[in-house]
Symmetry: C2
């Protein structure tokens, strides 16, 4: 159960919404705060009464990185919940049917050899802590819930990463993306 | 929802249990029949009153096969529900933490280059129809629910496939496996 999380949009939680932008596809209702619930049972979730949306995801095994890439990522990745990392972003993403119909080698080629997704993430380290939640196989409305944490001074590293990804070949397969920026005191 | 299934062990369904063997790990209660429910909502499942167990799984994207391998598999794979395929097997499997801690390239190397999993499956075609359901990220007790259908005369093709896999390097990471054989009239 320690791999299961829910992101609850409403009026609870330490993270206040600073901005929310729908880049492609359907948006989500605007909320004041986002709460992160851990160990959320997959078989059902009591929606807090003030929640406007609840997005569930699971931290799963690595899907694309090689042993070498992962070793380097781990060496450079900061922990989550650094006290100074008062900025965060929750970016729910969905990819289209064409993406999911491809075989593993085709998806890896687009993701890394053509789009440099892993390399770009590496360049944003150790500034931008990152955690990926999978949700496509949970029957959720998104395929991924990506979560980032960084110091306010490192916002440009984060923007550089996003600009790189959104210009990439891989992003041609993204058909729903919402960029929610958060801060906490 | 068309990717979600539940296998219900009890007294309902067209498939009668001919035998059940626990190869490694904890077993499951013995049942007379297995029912297959389609489009089962992930967020909750009404257990039929006669069910002794319910295992949920989702048909997901390809995790290991290359474009080439998949093209060949598709060319040779028979449909499910062939009238003459009156034998089936449900094999719930779990792999250990060491397997899931490996990166994609390490798992692929063990699965195919060392264990010939995809090649062995190919050799059992077109005799043995196969369908893989994923369940690790659903918080289920197994990681996979594998389903096979074949004509009674092709049982030896199926046994050859199982013997190959169970002797393989990949199977050293399997820590729970139950082999349930079924027939229907």
């Amino acid at each position: 159960m320690d791999r299961f999380f829910a992101f609850v949009g409403g009026t609870s939680g330490i993270w206040s919404v600073a901005s929310a932008a729908t880049l492609i596809g359907e948006g989500l209702p605007s909320v004041e705060r986002v709460d992160i619930l851990a160990a959320v049972d997959n078989s059902g979730l009591a929606n807090p009464s003030d929640a406007l949306w609840t997005l569930r995801g699971v931290v799963s095994h690595e899907r694309y990185v090689t042993h070498q890439e992962r070793a380097e990522l781990r060496l450079r990745s900061p922990a989550l919940n650094r006290p100074e990392a008062t900025c965060a972003a929750l970016i729910p993403l969905r990819k289209n049917a064409e993406w999911w119909a491809m075989a593993q080698d085709e998806r890896r080629t687009i993701l890394e050899e053509q789009s440099g997704h892993i390399r770009a993430g590496m360049e944003a380290l150790p500034a931008v802590a990152r955690k990926l939640h999978h949700c496509r196989d949970l029957g959720e409305p998104f395929d991924f819930l990506t979560w980032f944490e960084f110091h306010p001074r490192d916002v440009s590293s984060f923007e550089t990463l996003l600009e790189h990804l959104r210009r990439s070949e891989e992003w041609k397969y993204v058909d729903r993306e919402i960029d929610i920026r958060l801060t906490h005191a």
